[in-house]
Homo-oligomer: 354 residues x 5
């Protein structure tokens, strides 16, 4: 459940725009890296001192500043002051319980979204908040911890592979968003595989544990929905490209981003339908098995209870019971019992119970 | 249920705009307090005589008048007359069963919303109606009882902390709304904790009482939905900022308020999904347990009923039953019974019932 | 069910606009009353002769003509001709299976809505169709029977209480609509009380009869939904006030009417959610009780069937059964039975079945 | 199921606009009838030769051409050529699996809708496709078979009853649509009666057959929904009256048609809710009855199994069983059995099982 | 499940627009065919060398280039370069997990949709991605494998049947889309037949296997929904015809395409409703059968357990049991047993259990 709601109430009663880090501290020391490039030049720097990155701001080249770790509020504040950010933007960056959102502050565009990972330990999908701020010649990305899905983009910038070095900050921002959304599909695949496995188990051998697995899947789809749905609006806002910070040539890529987002949402909805279908089938098959169990009980009881009664009759100690004296009484009774027993057996077979 | 619908029918058949206090009387004596401030000046006053606060109206400074207790209609009427309020506004203030709403009366904006609390005694979420009226240089807040979430704001005004003393009445109104909405998240967290607890109980040891807990959670989410959903429209109306009473600089904060409202609604919807998922799982696990019980019964019955029948046979008193005379008849039968018993046991084990 | 669909098919195959009274005849003789007033003058008249009311039409004062009983089509037609109504309007008035609706015929506005009552006999909510027609200086209201929620308005007109005598026909029409909608809340309260009662019963002592009560509640909410939902559109059309027959000063009251309608719909939706939640809980608690019953059966059967089998063994009549000869055989067996019995008892207690 | 999807795939792979009759052939010989009229003149003709009706096209009077039977494609084609219809219109007319739709081809308006009937034989609702084409002075109606709901309209035209002879082709088209929609209500009534019957059965004596009846009702509502929902859009398109073929005076009648359509849809939705409510109640009452059955079983088993065990004890043949020798042993045991039996009986009564 | 999500994550971390074939390789060698035609001329060519088709690009005739097989990325790239396609278009073509979509690139329109087939082997509906690109005088279609629904169109072009040779590339594109959508109906029919079969089975003889069949149907409808729903938007975009590449005369055909798409979606929704209805009925009938089984068990147990107890009484070995000495004791007891047995039988019959 900690996945679904974080200790956001910590911020209650504070001045709006006052910085409070909401969320777990997932890294020891804040790490800052800069990639500064244009078509011809490229420079890379890693540091822990925020002051060193400010000079990049005034160069005409595109600067991608990545910050890993959100708990040192002083650093966030310095960036905020240096890049002229609104206090509410800074508040949103450090509050990791944000809903994915898009805000246009004229001088910069602010995008919040969720990077998803599959935590092999907890066997559950977890999320990390990524905030992007981009202006005319810079992109600043904020992450909660180290490790992300941006390495291929770094490589492309370093090696001038593809069109990225020839494009502006808006294309870089798009690339980062695209990398996050593309990564959703690998999560969706994992979920899809689980659903597939469950469906087979359902058919071959449904177990009480299956129920727990279904419940976990349901929670995962709810979690995904919450993380991905609002992105639709974000992508749509970006695609409409009403900001002058987004060039026309990037717009077509943003449309593609929007399409991918819709596709991810579509798949999540399909998964929801499938999981709820699986639960229905599970419940029905539990009832079916109950019927099977009851049939076994009923057949045993219905056959042997009357027979036992018959045996009970002749186990009575009345002095005058003529049958007991008959020579073949016992065998006649055994025969009668066989008739009754097989008659009932035949009856149940005709009812298709056996 | 009293939580869901109040004795609103009391107002039926009255002149529209006629004041009737709908709701419980939650305070003995109406308490009035004023905070009057601008960038440089600050004045605070507490009183029970409404006349004393009217002079504040004409000062250019921002005046925040807070009224605790709605049952003294005379006071409400006097405020209404003095601040030129529409009769329907006054009617809405004292009718505490209002739906959250936003109304623009040109000279003032009227906002109704619900402040939520967790009542530790009743173990349920309860709500209190807060009405806000703000004009160019005043904010009047009406509450049903003492005790609210506004103390941090009072502190900030007194200590000139943050930007509040430099901003106008619209920013003060925003701050109050923001405090109420921020408080929702602490309620949501409590609910989230309960859901989490229930989910674990569901897995480790589901009980009939769990059902009652699920039902209570469901009611709480329904209650929250009813209180928070309409706020979406309110926040959206405020954010669009079509009134000239709302300055552009406040608008950006109202957008943040809107985002928070959406986030609260999102979380409530997620909770709804989770609670309904929990109920499904609960029902399935009840059926699973039924299967377990039935299996135990069936195994006992299916094994011992035939054996008892066999014993019954040789308990009969027929004069001519050859087996009874055999020396080892008894032991042969015991052996046969063991074969039958273990045979059935083996059969059920192969069926994975044991 | 007769509540949900009336014999509307009677009208099939008729000329559109041809009058046919659809619905039960709920009054013997049509009763007509007129209240004619302005700021200074007031006149009241009750009659059964429709001709007597036509003179009121041409006075500049506001005339409220109320007709109780719709089965005398001749009267309806005369009013229609005299007030220049469209044939379809007349058809709609006498067809009491109308959906609430708003129609603007330039010269007059036509509103149909449902007045709700709780029929103590049938223990069910019933509805009566009210049609309102208002022009620049008249309001005509059509009702199916005597007895309505308009008496307080009549009193206010007679006693010149409130602003009603100073306002026009549009305000009178609003007042009538407001009275009908306000009355919804008393119905909703009754329903709310029933739901509350049911919820407590559910917890303390669920019974098969509870199911019938849940079903009745569900039907009541469906019935309410059908009667009240379309009113949203009606109130919204009135509020937008595009007709010149609605003055600006009345518009603000119509906004209030709209708010009340939304609030009623909101409450109905909440009730729907609650009733469906109650049904879920009921079904789960039936399953829980089944588990309880099965546990009792299983415990009795699982303990005594093996013991009976043991007794059966020593009830056999084999000639050679060494145990029967032992002096303490009987007591040893009794002891063994106690061990088995208490062992099973202990086993079930450890399983938390007892 | 044949009701829900027809052999439409027959048309796959054909030239768009190529005519193929999709649906059953429901009449032997195509029958054509014409009613030609204006205010003063009236002429009626029945024929099987399509050429004879073409002269009516050029008269200024309104001509209503009705074609019963769609399988003679030659006739349809001739009409198409003579009245200048688009090939796609003709394709739609003969493909009886059309969804209700409205198309404006400037020179004519094309409307497809479903006429509903209750087939007493199959005990199910069936539908027949009706296509209407109307231009400035003609209406052509296509039906699959003989027998329709238009006879009252024919009578009104013949007898010059009502306003129909004074109005144009658009009013005639409206009248036909209105007759079809009015007829829906008689179908809805039949369905309503069935639901009412089922609800009573549910309360007094639920049976396994009830389930089949519920399923049939559900299918009927699904079928109705599919046939009637799209009509909403059709009626709304007609009402907006953007075509110059629709006169303003007819527009008000089309608004009424729209209202009726919405009312029919509303009722269908209410029925859906009710049927799904009935199913829920049915399932709960099946579970309730299961509980009753289990209680009976458990009471019998729990009382007599221990008693039988006690009798079994004293049926054993141990040589040394002191109780057997006691004079009153038998009666003491009988007494003990009575105590145990009534004790259990009392226990179950206290549990409210009896 | 592989049906629902493909290995799309393969593309993660690549340059946007970089080509990667996502999906199974369903054909050995890419096959290219061209049909080049206008009103008077016609030319057809089949090749595996992509260069040979480029000359067709510059002719004024309409050229339909069909490519079967997407795994040879070089070919796709060459076409892309030659026809001036955007890199994202190429990426979408080879990524067969696309959602149906419409994109207008000014110089060409790009449409992705799903061709559905029923795989007789897997007994499931499968899909193949079809991408269409059309400009002023060319249409390029990309398919994953050989075998499609376009043969009738090829025939019409070859034989100059219908209007296709007289129309432009937009009409050809429409024809291809229409063929795909028409084919949906044959799939829907197959599904409809299955549903019909299942409904009958449900009534006559419900089996555990029925559950698997219901589950498969549910998955099929989910799969269809995912494939067909997004087409609604595609068809609507095409119909609005905002591109100058679509002529007005084709627009009317595209409206028809839109209608067919809606009809397919409607039918899918109806199927969804029906399948979910079938599941409900199945679950209820499983419960009903459980009741039947329980009744059999209860009747047997309730009748014979008391009788066995009575026999047990007189099987006891007490020395003093007066009844045992009575001459008619045995027959009296038999009579008593008959009374008890038939009494219970009569009781259960009165309860309608038998």
């Amino acid at each position: 459940m900690g996945r679904f709601i974080k200790r956001i109430s910590k911020t209650s009663g504070l001045v709006p725009g006052e910085l409070v880090h909401v969320g777990e501290r997932k890294i020891d020391k804040v790490k800052i890296s800069v990639l500064d490039y244009d078509d011809k030049n490229f420079q890379e720097k890693e540091t822990t001192n925020i002051e060193e990155i400010f000079p990049f701001k005034d160069t005409p080249t595109v600067s991608w500043i990545n910050i890993n770790g959100l708990h040192e509020l002083e650093i966030i504040e310095k960036i905020g002051n240096n890049f002229d950010m609104h206090p509410l933007t800074l508040e949103d960056i450090v509050n990791t319980s944000q809903r994915p959102k898009y805000e246009d502050f004229d001088k910069y565009i602010f995008v919040v979204l969720k990077m998803l990972m599959f935590d092999e330990g907890k066997k559950a999908i977890i999320s990390e908040q990524v905030s992007l701020i981009f202006g005319s010649n810079f992109v600043i990305s904020f992450q909660e911890r180290e490790g992300d899905v941006f390495d291929p983009i770094r490589e492309r910038i370093r090696n001038a592979k593809g069109r990225i070095r020839r494009m502006g900050a808006d294309y870089l921002a798009y690339s980062l968003l695209d990398a996050v959304v593309d990564n959703y599909f690998s999560i969706l695949e994992k979920l899809g595989d689980k659903i597939e496995g469950l469906e087979e188990e359902l058919v071959t051998n449904p177990m009480p544990q299956t129920l727990q697995a279904i419940h976990n899947l349901k929670r995962d789809t709810i979690f995904l929905r919450k993380a991905v749905w609002p992105l639709r609006e974000v992508a749509s806002s970006l695609e409409r490209g009403e900001s002058k910070l987004i060039k026309k040539s990037t717009s077509i890529f943003l449309r593609d981003l929007y399409d991918h987002t819709i596709q991810a949402i579509d798949t999540i909805e399909t998964f929801r339908d499938m999981v709820s279908g699986i639960l229905d089938i599970y419940m029905s098959s539990v009832s079916n098995r109950m019927n099977e169990i009851m049939k076994v009980l009923t057949i045993f009881a219905a056959i042997f209870i009357p027979l036992t009664f018959m045996a009970g009759i002749y186990g009575m100690n009345f002095e005058f019971m003529p049958e007991l004296k008959w020579k073949y009484g016992y065998f006649v009774l055994l025969g009668l019992m066989a008739v009754v027993g097989f008659g009932l057996l035949f009856h149940f077979r005709r009812k298709k119970w056996i």
